[in-house]
């Protein structure tokens, strides 16, 4: 019944990925309280658990992230991006 097991590897915030790396969304940290609306919005834009997301680059001075998800390109404020948890998607020829 534990669905999480389908994601291997440790969870990290989207902001921890390097440019060009792909992550698979595991969850978005947001309580029913303050960030609820933004969680909804992120999911409506395609960032649902299981979705593949590529970090393209980030704006200078810790600015927003440019990502691509489900064929569209989004700009995400850094505060929001930190709440998106992903696991790193490994290439099949990588070490361990």
């Amino acid at each position: 019944m534990e669905r999480r097991t389908k994601f291997e590897g440790s969870e990290l915030p989207l902001t921890a990925l390097r440019n060009g790396e792909t992550g698979i969304v595991t969850s978005i940290k947001a309580g029913r309280g303050e960030c609820w609306g933004f969680k909804r919005r992120l999911m409506d834009m395609g960032l649902t658990p299981g979705a593949e997301v590529v970090v393209v680059k980030s704006a200078p001075f810790l600015g927003p992230l440019e990502v691509t998800v489900r064929g569209s390109r989004l700009a995400l404020g850094r505060g929001m991006a930190e709440r998106i948890l992903v696991v790193r998607k490994k290439g099949c020829l990588r070490e361990n």
């Binding site: 395609g46 658990p49 200078p60 927003p64 440019e66 489900r70």
Partner: protein, 645 residues
Amino acid sequence: MSKRKLTIALAGNANVGKSVIFNHLTGLHQHIGNWPGKTVERAEGTLHFKGYTIDIIDLPGIYSLSTYSLEELVSRKYIVVERPDIVINVVDASVLERNLFFTLQLIELETPLIIALNQMDIAKKKGIEIETEKLEKLLSIPVLSTVAIKGVGISKLLEKAIEIVEKEEKPNPVEIKYGEEVESRIAKLTRMVEEIQFWYPPRYVAIKLLEGDEEISREVQRIAPKIISTAKELATEIEELHSHSCSTVITSERYEIAGCIAREAQKLVPPIKPPIEEKLHNLTTHKTLGYPIMVVLLLLVFYSIFAFGGYTSELLNDFFYNFESFFKGLFGTGVAGELVWGGIIEGIIAGITIALPYITPFYLILGILEDSGYLSRIAFLMDNIMHKIGLHGKAFIPMMLGYGCNVPGILGCRIIETEREKLLAAFVTTLVPCAARTVIILGLVGHYIGIQYALILYVIDLLIIFFLGRLAFKTLPGEPTALIIEMHDYKVPHLKTALKQTWFRVADFIKIALPLIVLGSLAIKLAEVLNLLEPIATVLSPITVMWLGLPAITGITLIFGVLRKELMLIMLATLLGTTNFALVLTPVEMIVFTLVAMFYIPCMATIAVLVNEFGWKKALFITAFEIVFAITIGGVVLRVLTLAV
């Protein structure tokens, strides 16, 4: 033959081509205004076709029918309550999966539906081939491919829409099935909802209750609280099974379905698109080059708006003042003549010559920047800095435009999603010294005391913007701001659509702002004719003389400044009897006067747009706040400066 009436609504994500299609369909029979009581734009038009009078509504661009934003709420209410005869779902073929996610929600709303598969040309360039028939079969909804900017497929679309309406059979789209755990609970809840009278379809209500939709929960709670408690239990069960919140589970599964359909219907082949759009994107969002490019572009925009505005403004002014003697001849130079000319006509002239020459090019350029996709890149580049005052990147545009004229600045706040952020951005924009205030700053402080002091005033202004922005951000209730914006591929804007939209937006502005400006002008003229100005100056003297340490007659200038701030200096010269201000005002007085003039009240045209966008209450609150704030800061600065000197 009596004409039959039809209503067609256009719905879809942002930037899919709804407005271009809308403009193809409606020609010049359209009207752009706001949804009642909302800062959401409503575009409506009519069209005559095959004996029908067809009403077309261009719904705002949205990604979902949840109630995250006002746009989504407005759209959902419209579809469910006003029941258009058919909804045309405009879909961007180049981002099929995400667009279908929205389509699925329209299907769940059980509204009659056809799909315009638009931007087929872009999809093709990107190497995405879509089989329309297959998509049609998968969804059991008519799908027509279109290329809106070339007008391809639009008339077929209209014919199909009418054909569907004429058939009058219930829409029968594909059933959207979620996973078994979710589906069984939806079924259970649906049976309960079927028992009550509700204007949304029962299955839709059941799904939305499980998702925790606030609006629907609230309304069902009133009629049948039992359903809500069951919904909560069922949602918790789903949460325990999936270890994700129920709304997350449902949204994910809906996206799975959308993805599945998209993969079935589309074939990916190597793109034939020359990567020019991609290069342009990389250049304009580049970590170093992006900024100078932005600055140059914006200066260009800024310059062209104000060069055009200044030139036309003067031209119009000269043109209107040719009629001065004619009018005065007609109504005499007595009280009536004064009121008609100085009150009403000059008010109209003020409205037309100040606002129109600036807001018309502004609307056009803003529209083009938005449609081309550059606006979202600016938001990307500026987000970090704007965050410091609690706003996200998009708010940079209105603020920057405010330096020319606050009116377009505030209108520009429409590009921001949430009501709260719109208001915050508009408030900050009214604090930006516009060109008229720049005249005072440079003409008085810059000219008589020294340009460095004028610059200090600008810096003070920035600090105040920062400080008050943060304050408003902290006190205004609501969610913190975060940028979530799509940076769609660069596109060539459709000029005809942009021009038409500009025209109808300007018409909307005139209708709302002009009466207010004329009324203000009339009131001031009336005060002048009735010889009330001197008494008013006396009444104001505790503030102007005692608190601010200024000559009493500055009170009169401050009143006139409400109408036209750029005339304050000329007025001051007339009242003081000299254009050499150094003879009559001390440097400290000049600084205090300028500071007060910078902040004390938005001008009449600005108040008019504030009312238009946010309603009377908020407009008056901002105005009142700024009056008090300006007077306070003026007095404080006076005392600090006197101590220092």
